[in-house]
Structures are given as C-alpha cells and as structure tokens.
C-alpha cells in the first residue's frame, strides 16, 4: 500500500495558547492556514483531545469552533490538579499545557507536510 499521509505534530499545523480559570484550562488552537484548519476540524475532536490529556483526567472537554478566524478553543475541565493555588505542579497555571497539545500527532497528506516543514510564521 502506498502511504499518502504522515503524522505531523500539531505545531506544524497550528499555534496554541493556554489559559486557566480555577481548575479549568482553555487551550486555543489557531490553524496556520485554511487547509490546516480543515484537517484539524476532522481530527482534533473533543474525544481525541480528551484521550491525549488522559493522564490529567479531564472531567469534561468542550470544543468551540470559530471558523471566521480558523480557530478552535478547547475547554478542559478538571485537569489542573486543583489549579493555581492547589496544584503541586511547578506550573500550577498549566501555562505549558499548550505545548503538550502541540505534540499531538495529526495525519496530514504528504504534500501538505512538505509545504509545512520548517515554515516560519
């Protein structure tokens, strides 16, 4: 079988920022372009993101889509071990969790992968 896709880390398709409120983290996912956004709509789902954060035991994951800015916003409840005052994590805010999501593999067509490699935005 001829391979037509390749797994890319999310950071080749999008950029992200994490924010916190209490024990809830929200992570924005902003596609680098329209083609990336279409792939993310299919693959970056509430279920796949909840699985990727499995060790943080989210009690609920909600995806909000903002098509006009080719972005999504994931709200992950219960993943901050209590949040800024409660967690023993060095990063009690979960500021770095955007970079955990940015490692998530996304299956991309080979041609797209070529175009995205080593892009500077």
């Amino acid at each position: 079988m001829i391979r037509t896709t390749i797994d890319l880390p999310l950071h080749q398709l999008a950029h992200c920022r994490a924010g916190d409120k209490g024990n809830t983290s929200n992570i924005s996912v902003i596609a680098w372009d329209t083609e990336c956004f279409q792939l993310l709509l299919e693959q970056l789902t509430e279920t796949s993101v909840a699985t990727w954060f499995g060790h943080r035991h989210p009690t609920r994951v909600t995806r909000y889509v903002l098509p006009r800015i080719e972005s999504m916003n994931f709200v992950l409840e219960g993943i901050l071990d209590g949040g800024v005052n409660d967690a023993l994590n060095l990063d009690t805010h979960g500021k770095g969790l955007s970079f955990w999501l940015l490692e998530m593999p996304i299956a991309a067509p080979l041609q797209l992968a070529d175009r995205l490699s080593n892009q500077i935005y």
Binding site: H11, H15, N26, S28, L66, R68, N85
Partner: protein, 452 residues
C-alpha cells in the same frame, strides 16, 4: 456631534510585570492627543497576598511596584490630561491613593483628583457568613484571607465623569479597566449590550499587556518576534460605535498581527458566545481580525448580550504549608539516581505528606500531581536533571520534612547529588461562587489627602 475616538493603553499585564513599558505608552498617547493609561495588576491570588501584607502593616496591601509604575509618568499624565485607571489598589486602594498624593507632592505637581472604588471587599464577619453559606463550605472563617467580588466598569466611569484624574480600584474585572473610561468618554448606556461587548473585548485584548503584542507569542525559529527585550505594550483605539483597533506603543519591539491577536482574543475564554464580566456577556463567535497597517489590527464582529445576573466572588483561605526542595544530578545515570532519590524520599515520608516528585529535565510540568504520566516511564535521554520534591501539610513542621529529606541526600545518597535549594511558604486556596448584585455595596469616593 460624534465624540472623538478614545485611546486606551495598558502598561502592565500582572503584578510583577515589566515597569519600563509605561513611558513608551505615555509618549504614544501624548503624540495621539491624549487618552487613558491603565495598569492591570491583579491575578487570582494577588489580592490574597496583598491582604496578608495589609495585615502586617495597614499602610501596605496595594501594588508594591506602584512607585515604579506611576512615578515616572505622573507629571506628564497630569499635564496632558491622560487619565490613569488601575486595580493597583489591591487590598488597600485608600493607601495606594495616599501614596500617589505623596508622589505628586515630592515631584512638586498639582494635587491630582484621585477616586477610590470600594465595595469589592467582603471580609466583614456577616458578609463572610453569607458567603460561606452560599459556597456550602464549613471552613473556619478565621482561615479566610480575602473575599472579593469582581466589580464592573460603572464606578470607574462615574468617577471619571466627575473629573477624577486617577481611579484606583481593588478587584474589578480586568476588561472593566478599559470599559470604564470608554463608558465615561462616549456616555454609552449601561444596557447598550452590543457596545459594552465591544468595549469589553477591547479591554480583553489589552489586559495582559504584551501578550497581544508578541511577548508570550514568540517561538524562536517558528514564530519569531523582534525586540523581545523592549516589547511595546498595547494601545486600543475605540470609536463611538464600539469599533476598535489594537496597536502597540511607538519605537518598541514586538509584533501585532493576525496571529498575535488571535492568541490573545481567545486567551482565558471558555464559550466564545458567552464571555462573562460584571458588565456584559460579550460574544466573539463572529469576530474577525484584519491587519490594517504594520503592527495594527482591527477587530470586527464582536457583540454583547445582557450582563450576568450575579457577580463572581473569589474567597482565598489559609490551607497549610507548601514545601519544595530540589537537588541536581548530572552525567552517568543521572536520571536513575534522581529517580532513586525520589523513591527513597517517598518511602521515608510519603505516608506523612502528599508528595509530588518531578525529574526536571526529563519530565516535570507536563505530568500530573499523582504521577500517572511519570509511571508510564520517560525514555528521553536526560543526563542533567533536577529532582524536585513538593509536599503540603497543614502543620508547618511536618511540611518542612520535605526540605530536610532532600538536604540529607547530600550524605545519604545516591551519588553525586548537589545544589540543594528549598523553600516553605503558606498555601492559599481559592473558592469561587456568585452572589446577587445587591449583596455588594459598590461605590466610589474622592480620597481625602492625608498629610503626615
């Protein structure tokens, strides 16, 4: 006649932010013919820390960097009618106002008219009792350090319309620092939800300082930002209909474009159709962003809906002690030695204290407190790591065992551990709820100057 556009700059995004971003913001506002200077300085726990300072000294409890923020620009702000609006009053807005009067005296300036917003503090015994009932919590009220409602833009707006040069608040919602002056300037009705939604999101774009102008955005080699050592703080231009643009102070580093603006637009947002503040339910579902010039974006499509019925309250309370200690291992089997040290400490005190163990350099902040990710193993090569042990306990003496155990690794091994550092600090926890608006007696007064 339509009012002129209003410029609002924000020169800090939190307590502890750089203080030297203020001068370029003021320079730019003056060049534009005036405007409003805001400072956002209150994160979730900042107010509780300020309450602790106020307990120690009744003249403290406001933003510790106040002199550095206001001192260098006070003269020019007064000369050019640039209003200053900030939550840097923290737990003690009156004391902050007195400090600014003193700064004006020392600099030989005219006495500014300083308004102080009150009503956010809910630490009176009867207020605490009602809050605890609302929270369904049975913690001892004596453990409560701070209890504050998030106030909105109304009091700020009224004080400015009354001629205040400076408005000092405690807890208000961050975007209200912008919406307040916008309301005062354009005279919008408090139920003009569309415009309030726009003014609120303008404030949201500004409230984290350089987060919108490239600072927290930068990844070298992927999304680079020029001039990271002198990033410009942001300024919004808002028109009478609520349309707004965001740019940054002149002659600074940083970048404002589609990508930096999108990251900030969604920062700490949950449902984009329902961004809740005391003033309005803002809605960015159909927001669009356009680059209209170099380092300038226009945000369209924002709207708003009726404000939430109740106000949000944060209650901070003492919750024991957090002790953290670290030791480094480098070279041959560094990770294995660090892991053995961690296991050893867990065997010795894990039954007494809830512990978290990190191997910094191999796996730390991605992991959960329970260590589930760490238990799966981490195979990345790591030959220069730092063991971190963190533990909490209600009793200080017990919590301190964490630092004593890490210190004892110097002789008890494993081999080659060095560079122990440790700290112990009181731990604060937060409870949140909402309360009816009439529970809060929000208002403002002009602070009476007290000369000592």
């Amino acid at each position: 006649m339509t009012a002129k556009n209003l410029f609002v700059g924000c020169a800090t995004g939190f307590s502890g932010d750089r203080t030297d971003g203020t001068v370029p913001v003021v320079d730019t506002l003056i060049a534009l013919g005036g405007g409003v200077l805001t400072f956002e300085t209150l994160a979730e726990r900042t107010l509780a820390l300020a309450q602790i300072e106020k307990r120690k000294n009744p003249l403290h409890g406001y933003e510790p960097l106040l002199d550095d923020l206001v001192g260098p620009v006070l003269r020019r702000c007064l000369d050019h009618s640039i209003k200053i609006v900030s939550n840097f009053g923290a737990a003690n807005p009156q004391a902050a106002a007195q400090r600014i009067y003193a700064l004006a005296r020392v600099q030989g300036l005219r006495r500014p008219r300083i308004a102080v917003v009150h009503g956010d503090d809910l630490t009176q015994p009867e207020q605490l009792q009602s809050l605890l009932k609302r929270l369904g919590s049975n913690i001892d009220p004596a453990r409560i350090v701070s209890a504050n409602a998030y106030l909105g833009a109304q009091q700020i707006s009224e004080a400015l319309q009354d001629g205040a040069d400076i408005v000092v608040t405690g807890r208000v919602s961050d975007p209200s620092l912008t919406l307040g002056p916008v309301l005062a300037h354009f005279g919008w009705s408090l139920d003009d939800w569309h415009k309030l939604g726009c003014g609120t999101m303008a404030g949201h774009m500004l409230e984290c300082g350089t987060q919108v102008s490239g600072g927290y955005f930068c990844v070298p080699g992927q999304k680079p930002v020029e001039g990271m050592d002198r990033i410009g703080f942001p300024i919004a231009e808002i028109d009478s209909q609520g349309n707004f643009s965001v740019f940054k102070a002149a002659n600074t580093g940083g970048r404002v474009d589609l990508r930096t603006a999108k990251e900030q637009l969604l920062y700490e947002v949950h449902d984009p159709a329902s961004y809740l503040t005391p003033d309005v339910t803002a809605d960015i579902t159909n927001a669009t962003i356009t680059e209209t010039a170099a380092n300038r974006v226009r945000i369209d499509g924002v709207t708003g809906h009726e404000r939430p019925a109740e106000l949000k309250v944060n209650v901070c309370y003492d919750n024991g002690w957090l002790c953290e200690a670290e030791i480094s291992y480098a070279g041959f089997k560094a990770k294995e030695r660090a892991m053995l040290a961690g296991d050893t400490i867990r065997k010795r005190i894990g039954h007494l204290i809830d512990l978290r163990i990190d191997i910094i350099g191999a796996l730390s902040i991605f992991g959960d407190d329970a260590g589930e990710l760490a238990a799966k193993g981490f195979n990345a090569p790591a030959n220069d790591v730092r063991l971190r042990v963190a533990g909490v306990h209600m009793q200080k003496e017990t919590a301190e065992k964490v630092s004593r155990e890490v210190l004892s690794l110097y002789c008890c091994g494993p081999a080659g551990g060095g560079g122990v550092r440790s700290s112990i600090k009181p731990r604060l926890d937060t409870l949140s709820c909402t309360i009816p608006r009439d529970f809060v007696d929000a208002g403002w007064t002009i602070a009476q100057e007290q000369r000592t």
